[in-house]
């Protein structure tokens, strides 16, 4: 039986170019066959998600930085909540930040849109776990 490989599409929203580069490279090296979308602030991501032209290429997971210009992570989650129901698929949102500010951490915990708050520097295995756990196709276990 031929199994069609279903890739997980991850989306990273961060204004830090080096982090994005590293994130993509890491996915590539680890062979987690995920497609990566990236945006340098919340506004760009919302524009993309709302655009019907991209409706077939929506991410499964969003990693969003907190501190960004134009539209920060908090405002992104508010905007995302408004359009979530129109997405036609479940999208998990993770906050990813270097901030150890307890206010930020609590705010993320109390935000129903955010699945978890991931502190930078990121744990590579944890990211891999998240991406893998989203891969629910039958062929998943055969993948390496």
């Amino acid at each position: 039986m031929s199994v069609e490989r279903q890739n997980v599409t991850a989306c990273i929203i961060d204004d830090d170019d080096i982090f994005i580069y590293g994130f993509k490279k890491f996915i590539e090296i680890r062979g987690v066959f995920a497609e990566i979308l990236h945006f340098s602030n919340g506004q760009e991501a919302i524009d993309y998600l709302k655009n019907p032209f991209y409706a077939d290429n929506l991410p499964d997971i969003i990693f969003v930085d907190i501190n960004m210009p134009v539209m920060d992570g908090w405002e992104f989650t508010r905007k995302f909540e408004e359009i979530k129901s129109r997405m036609g698929k479940k999208i998990c949102v993770y906050a990813i930040s270097s901030s150890v500010d307890i206010n930020d951490i609590n705010r993320a915990k109390n935000n129903p849109v955010i699945e978890d708050y991931i502190l930078k520097p990121i744990s590579e295995t944890y990211i891999a776990d998240i991406i893998n756990s989203c891969q629910i196709s039958p062929g998943f276990s055969n993948m390496n």
């Binding site: 080096i18 982090f19 590293g22 490279k25 890491f26 340098s40 134009v70 901030s99 150890v100 520097p121």
Partner: protein, 493 residues
């Protein structure tokens, strides 16, 4: 037989009158100034504590031994009263048998007769009342002194007539001296206008709902001194539960209140500083962590990557991180410097000179953006300030105005000083892209907060500016409209 028959004693027998005179609890005496003979009633002896006849009945004995020497003048004056009108009453001290000197009331009447010139007199013991009076006077004095020291007085409003009664000390607090009586409206007009409605409502509520009140309000005395006072009122109710009187105290609490206010502002200042320090700690941690995190990330990738051109790219990122780390350390140094420079001496500096220095260093930027900068420091040409701070404030605000110019027009920047007697302000107005105050207003001065998609934005300038201004006790206000421009008003001192 009634005493009152014929409304006088003319019909009485002598024996009856004598019985009357001797039995009442009052001393009655008679003195014949011609024969120098004195007569004392039984009551006279009795009120002094003696049996009739126990002591010598003579004017001499009375005047020299019984009457307190200090009261002789008083007694003589009242006894030999020559004027018309009611007989004066003297209050004198007499020596009693067992209780020492006691207070008596004496009245006397002269009467000329065929047998000579007589003086009749009556003595009553008033010791109890007199002592009560002294105690009351002492209490009054004490309470007046207490009121004076505590700067507190009592007042009453009679609800039926809405008339007001204020104690002496309240008039002292009003700085109204002399014979003045204020009406309720007049008394209220001394309160600062902003507090009058509050006071009116408190009085209304006390009358209507029997609600007590306790207010701290600003008050202007008759000599135009503005002070804090405390007004406390308690409704007094009748048997039917209706408020008939409001009774209360009025106290000058100016010193306490002003201490409290300055204490509160110190607390707020400390609180702000604390918050800033904590914020600063978070920021430092955030920035170092993000660089450190990236560095670790890149080093791991570098080790795992096999492709040579990937390695090159990763290494270039490592170089960038290293530069960013140095830059961050530089920012930290600058911020630490703000605190260390605060102790440096303030100097009288000319706004014009500082402005020209900054313009010179920014010449390239100004030229490239074609900015028009209008400066006018005529209202306040000089200020006592730390020169390095002022230069940094100019530099950051000018750089910002140029950096965030509107894409469709050349920047016009107005920069001027102004004063309102108490403070000196430095104002920067630009016609740049503006900033959405609703979205970003609270983060504007945060470290590494950037709002526009601008590659030069580092989010450090305004953070440093605010810290410098606040370190010297000033503040910064911002007003901005997207696509119109931004106005920074810096209160320097």
């Amino acid at each position: 037989m009634s005493f009152f028959e014929g409304h006088n004693f003319f019909g009485e027998s002598t024996a009856h009158l004598a019985r009357l005179i001797n039995n009442i609890n009052t001393g009655i005496w008679e003195y014949n100034t011609t024969t120098k003979k004195a007569k004392w009633s039984d009551g006279f002896y009795a009120i002094l504590g003696y049996q009739p006849g126990e002591i010598e009945c003579s004017y001499h004995n009375f005047f020299e031994n019984i009457l307190y020497y200090h009261d002789k003048q008083t007694f003589l004056k009242a006894t030999h009263y020559a004027g018309t009108g009611p007989v004066p009453i003297a209050q004198i001290r007499l020596l009693t048998k067992k209780h020492g000197y006691q207070w008596f009331e004496s009245s006397a009447l002269k009467h000329d007769d065929d047998d000579g010139q007589f003086i009749y007199g009556v003595l009553n013991n008033i010791n109890k009342y007199k002592l009560a009076e002294f105690t009351a006077a002492k209490t009054d004095f004490l309470s007046a002194e207490t009121g004076r020291m505590a700067r507190i007085g009592g007042w009453e409003i009679d609800v039926a007539s809405m008339s007001l009664n204020l104690s002496r000390e309240i008039y002292n607090i009003y700085e109204l001296y002399g014979d003045i009586k204020l009406t309720l409206d007049e008394a209220r007009s001394f309160f600062e206008p902003a507090y009058r409605p509050m006071l009116t409502k408190a009085i209304e509520d006390a009358i209507k709902y029997c609600k007590p009140y306790d207010l701290e309000v600003l008050f202007k005395t008759a000599k135009n001194n503005i002070i804090w006072v405390r007004v406390k009122g308690i409704p007094i109710i009748d048997d039917f539960g209706k408020c008939i009187t409001i009774r209360g105290v009025f106290q000058d609490i100016d010193v306490i209140k002003r201490n409290g206010i300055s204490m509160q502002s110190s607390i707020n200042l400390l609180d702000d500083q604390n918050k800033r320090l904590q914020n600063f700690a978070y920021i430092v941690s955030h920035n170092l962590r993000s660089h450190a995190g990236n560095l670790k990330f890149m080093v791991n990738l570098f080790e795992e990557t096999k492709a040579e051109n990937d390695k090159e790219e990763i290494f270039s990122h490592i170089k960038t991180i290293s530069e960013s780390l140095s830059a961050t350390m530089g920012h930290l140094d600058e911020i630490v410097k703000i605190q260390s420079e605060i102790s440096k001496e303030r100097k009288s500096v000319s706004f014009e000179t500082i402005f020209n220095n900054v313009i010179a260093t920014l010449r390239a930027n100004i030229k490239a953006s074609n900015a028009q900068i209008n400066a006018n420091f005529s209202e306040v040409p000089e200020i006592s300030y730390i020169p390095a701070y002022l230069e940094s404030i100019f530099q950051n605000l000018l750089t910002n105005a140029i950096k965030y110019k509107h894409p469709d027009r050349e920047p016009v920047i107005n920069c001027y000083t102004k004063t309102d007697e108490k403070h000196i302000y430095l104002v920067f107005e630009d016609n740049g892209m503006g900033i959405d105050m609703k979205r970003f207003g609270d983060q504007l001065f945060g470290m590494y907060r950037t709002f526009h998609q601008n590659k030069d934005a580092k989010g450090i300038g305004l953070f440093i500016t605010r810290n410098q201004v606040e370190a010297l006790g000033g503040n910064i206000a911002v007003d901005s409209t997207v696509n119109i421009g931004t106005k920074f008003t810096v209160r320097l001192v």
